[in-house]
Structures are given as structure tokens and as C-alpha cells.
């Protein structure tokens, strides 16, 4: 089966229609008193989770919407939000 991502507008589409927009990492850090290390943490370091994580995706070859979804990096498959599956 080919890999898919579910766009909130277009529905389930081929993964290669989308652009990855990084793992969800919460709000951008406050500029005030931001040290180079904290800034680096925010923009360069990754959780690199082996398992399920929340991610940002952009429907590049489709409707152009940005959205978040959940994916398992050990299988490459989109999954339901963990709370819902347990």
C-alpha cells in the first residue's frame, strides 16, 4: 500500500503530495532574553522520536493548507492521535 497523509480538506492523499513542516514543538520561544543555545534548541535540535509524533504538514500539490497530524516514524505510516487509539 502506498503511503498517505490525511489533509483536513482533501482527505487521504498520496504522501508525496505533501511537504513536511517539522515535528510539533510548541510555541516559538520568547525573544526576550533568548540565548543562542535556547534559540538553537528551538530551531535546530530535534526530538527525532522513534515512534509516534505530532507533525506539521503542508498540502503542497493540493489545497495549500497547513495542518498537524500524527505519524509513526518506525513505520512511516500516519496514525490516529495516541489517546484515541488507547
Amino acid at each position: 500500500m502506498s503511503y498517505t497523509i490525511t489533509c483536513p480538506i482533501c482527505g487521504k492523499r498520496d504522501l508525496y503530495e505533501f511537504r513536511f513542516g517539522n515535528e510539533e514543538r510548541g510555541p516559538y520561544p520568547n525573544q526576550k532574553g533568548l540565548t543562542p543555545r535556547a534559540y538553537s534548541e528551538a530551531v535546530q535540535m530535534h526530538e527525532a522520536v522513534g515512534g509516534i509524533q505530532k507533525e506539521w504538514w503542508y498540502h503542497r500539490d493540493g489545497c495549500g493548507v497547513w495542518f498537524t497530524t500524527w505519524r509513526d516514524t518506525l513505520t512511516g505510516r500516519e496514525v490516529l492521535q495516541p489517546e484515541e487509539t488507547s
Partner: protein
């Protein structure tokens, strides 16, 4: 003739002087050189699956030393020169084929980037030159230099000393060499945690027991970030699946490694006659080694435009590995910070085959003396928080007709 074991089977000991996590070329080389150059022989290489399971047995085997920045070129150039020595020393035919690499350039921006890379190489004493499109055609007669393709070729960057080395042979030879010095190689042994006490590494936990060791090297290729997490270290690494494939065997038509940044394709003809070709990475993190038809189609289209005689040729096999990409496309070679005794040899992306033995040599020195060798200075983990990236991303491969 009975089959001969290349490395000895050994019992897992309770304690070692150094432990390498990952039985790829980097871990095996580091173990080999620790034993050979520093007399540290009570060493274990711990491998979850089997020697060469990771990138070391999946890469397209391209070696070269024409990187963008001088710090990188220095390391890769020494690495390139090391093959001949290793082949002799380990008495193992690694099938080093120094056929030269041609990077085709498809835009003025790429020509400009290549000009800088050629200057870097020449300043560093590495052979590299800029070719015009006719000279590219003289080098590879099968090349299409007409304007009838998506990205016509404007010129090329030619690097004569590069080529191909048989990757499995490298892994086996290093395992054999390390074992001869008494290094233990434990396959089917998974590291599940790294023990740290009061800021010092004390050993590892595996599915076969706990080992003590004052020195631990994380050299787990694409899985490196997962291992670093066990020690509480976050890395600027995205693990990206990268695919490669080979065609049916053909008569000789391609006697150089060819690569094109604009087409995201690199290819060479193996000594068996197959065209081995590597594709781009999926730009989203995965620890998977699954393949997708997307890249088969892409490779077929790109190769047909660049080398039209390949039209209709069949792909025979297709596989994938994981490239651990850093933001500046240069590795992280780091130690004793923030944890004493814990060393990192990660972030090699899709460049870690050519650099395996030479990096092993210097990581061994780093681990033996607890002092970073000069040549590894550009690759500290701290460069990211200092925003002192190596500049490697400005290589010609980043530039195409779109910029």
C-alpha cells in the same frame, strides 16, 4: 575448502575498556584503530543485527574528496588516501575503482558553486577541475549534452581520484582486522540504555546483559539520535530514508561516477555491469528502510534524460537506508561533553561511507587520549548553538536552474 570465519566468536564480557555502539564501518574502524594504534584491545563492537546491516551495507559506495569546505576536504582527502593502505594492511580486496567522479552542472549558480569547490580542492592539494559541456561528453560519451532535456548540462566538476569501493568488503575486512587484535564483535546484541553516573559514562545495558565501560562511542548511523536520547542528548539530526537501486547488467557504458544535484541522481556502473544509482531522501523523518515507487520513477526519468541509452533498461533491485542529516550537512564528531567518556560519531547523512575508516582512526585517537584531534575540530556538536555551521550546504548540489 571449508568456510573460514573472518572474526572470532566470543563471549560477552562484563567489562570492556571501550564499547562501540553499532557494527558499521565507523564502529569497526574505531575499534580496529584503538587496538592497532593505541594498544587498547579490550574493546567490544555491539551490533543489534549484523555487521553492515546499516548504511555501511546499503550505500552506493561512492568515495571522493571534493567537498565544499576546507575542513571537510582535509578529512575526506586523508580518507581517500587511506583505502590503498588499508587494502594492503588488512589483506582484503576492497575493489577500489578510482574511476573519477563527474558532477554535472545545470545552471550558472551551480557553475559558480563548483568553481568555489574546485578552488577549495586545489588549495588543499586535491585534484578537481571545471569542465565545459563538451569536455563532459568526451569523458562520458553516453551523456546527453543537448538542450532537449529538463535541465541541460552547462558543464561539470571532475574529480579524478574519487571512485567506488566495495562496501561489504570494507566492513568484513575491518571486522577481521579488529578481531585479530582481540576486539570482540557481538552481533544480535541490542543496546537498550546507556549508563551515566555523576556526569560520567559507566557502561551500557543490552538485551544480553549489562556491560561496564569507561568509554562508549555512539556510531549507530541513522539510529544515532535514538542512542543519544538514551544519554539525554538531543541532536540536530533528522533521520531520513534514502533509496538506491540497480539495473540489469549492461556492457560497459559508464566508466566514471556521475552525479547531478539538479536531477537528484548519482550513478555508476559496477564491475558486474549494473548501473547502481542513488536517489534523494524523503524529506521527513523515518527510521524505516522501505522503498517507494516514487523514486524508481524519478530515477528512471532522470537517468533517461542524462544517459538516453538507458531508456527501457530494467531495475533489478531496490533498497533503502537511513541518512542522519544535520543542518550543515557535516558530521558530529564529539566527545566528553556533556558526558565524560561518551563520544559521538554521527550525522554523516549520505557521506559516511567514504569517511568511515579515516574517522574511525581519529575517533580512536580521541577516545584513547581524551583530546580532540585537530582534524576533527570543525565537527564539534557545540558549533550549532554557536551558529558556526561548516558551510557545506553551499556545495554545487544545492544549486539548480531554480536559483
Amino acid at each position: 575448502m571449508g568456510s573460514k570465519r573472518l572474526w572470532k566468536k566470543t563471549r560477552l564480557k562484563k567489562s570492556y575498556d571501550a564499547v562501540m555502539i553499532g557494527g558499521g564501518i565507523h564502529g569497526l574502524a574505531a575499534a580496529y584503530f584503538l587496538a592497532r594504534d593505541h594498544g587498547i584491545t579490550n574493546v567490544a563492537v555491539i551490533e543489534r543485527r549484523y555487521i553492515g546491516f546499516g548504511g555501511s551495507g546499503r550505500n552506493t559506495a561512492i568515495v571522493r574528496a571534493n567537498q565544499r569546505t576546507q575542513g571537510n576536504v582535509r578529512l575526506y582527502d586523508e580518507g581517500l588516501k587511506l583505502w590503498a593502505t588499508l587494502i594492503r594492511e588488512l589483506d582484503f580486496n576492497m575493489m577500489f575503482y578510482n574511476c573519477g567522479n563527474l558532477n554535472t552542472l545545470h545552471s550558472e549558480a551551480a557553475m559558480g558553486a563548483a568553481r568555489l569547490a574546485v578552488c577549495t580542492a586545489q588549495l588543499s592539494g586535491v585534484r578537481s577541475e571545471l569542465l565545459d559541456r563538451k569536455q563532459c561528453k568526451e569523458l562520458i560519451p553516453a551523456l546527453n549534452i543537448e538542450d532537449n532535456i529538463t535541465y541541460p548540462i552547462l558543464g561539470g566538476m571532475y574529480h579524478p581520484p574519487g571512485g567506488i569501493v566495495r562496501h561489504d568488503a570494507v566492513a568484513w575486512a575491518l571486522a577481521k582486522g579488529a578481531s585479530r587484535y582481540g576486539v570482540h564483535i557481538h552481533q544480535n546484541t541490542e543496546v537498550t540504555n546507556i549508563n551515566v553516573e555523576k556526569g560520567k559514562v559507566t557502561g551500557i545495558i543490552t538485551n544480553k546483559g549489562t556491560l561496564k565501560s569507561p568509554r562508549v562511542l555512539i556510531c549507530a548511523g541513522g539510529y544515532g539520535a535514538l542512542l543519544a536520547q538514551m544519554a539525554g542528548i538531543k541532536l540536530p539530526i533528522h533521520p531520513l530514508t534514502i533509496q538506491a537501486m540497480v539495473t540489469q547488467p549492461l556492457k560497459p557504458i559508464l566508466n566514471h561516477v556521475i552525479s547531478s544535484g539538479a536531477y537528484h541522481v548519482y550513478a555508476n556502473q559496477t564491475l558486474k555491469g549494473e548501473i547502481a544509482t542513488g536517489a534523494h531522501m524523503d524529506p521527513w523523518p523515518n527510521y524505516t528502510t522501505n522503498t517507494t515507487p516514487y523514486y524508481m520513477k524519478h530515477q528512471a526519468e532522470a537517468l533517461t534524460e542524462l544517459l538516453p541509452c538507458l531508456k527501457g533498461v530494467k531495475f533489478m533491485r531496490h533498497w533503502a537506508g537511513i541518512a542522519d542529516m544535520t543542518p550543515d550537512m557535516a558530521p558530529i564528531l564529539h566527545g566528553n561533553d556533556p558526558i565524560e567518556g561518551l563520544y559521538l560519531d554521527v550525522g554523516w547523512g549520505y557521506f559516511g561511507f567514504k569517511s568511515g575508516p579515516i574517522t574511525g582512526k581519529y575517533m580512536a585517537e580521541y577516545m584513547a587520549k581524551a583530546r580532540r584531534p585537530q582534524i576533527l575540530k570543525p565537527f564539534s556538536l557545540r558549533r550549532f548553538e554557536q551558529f558556526r555551521h561548516t558551510g557545506e550546504t553551499a556545495g554545487a548540489f544545492s544549486y539548480g536552474p531554480w536559483n
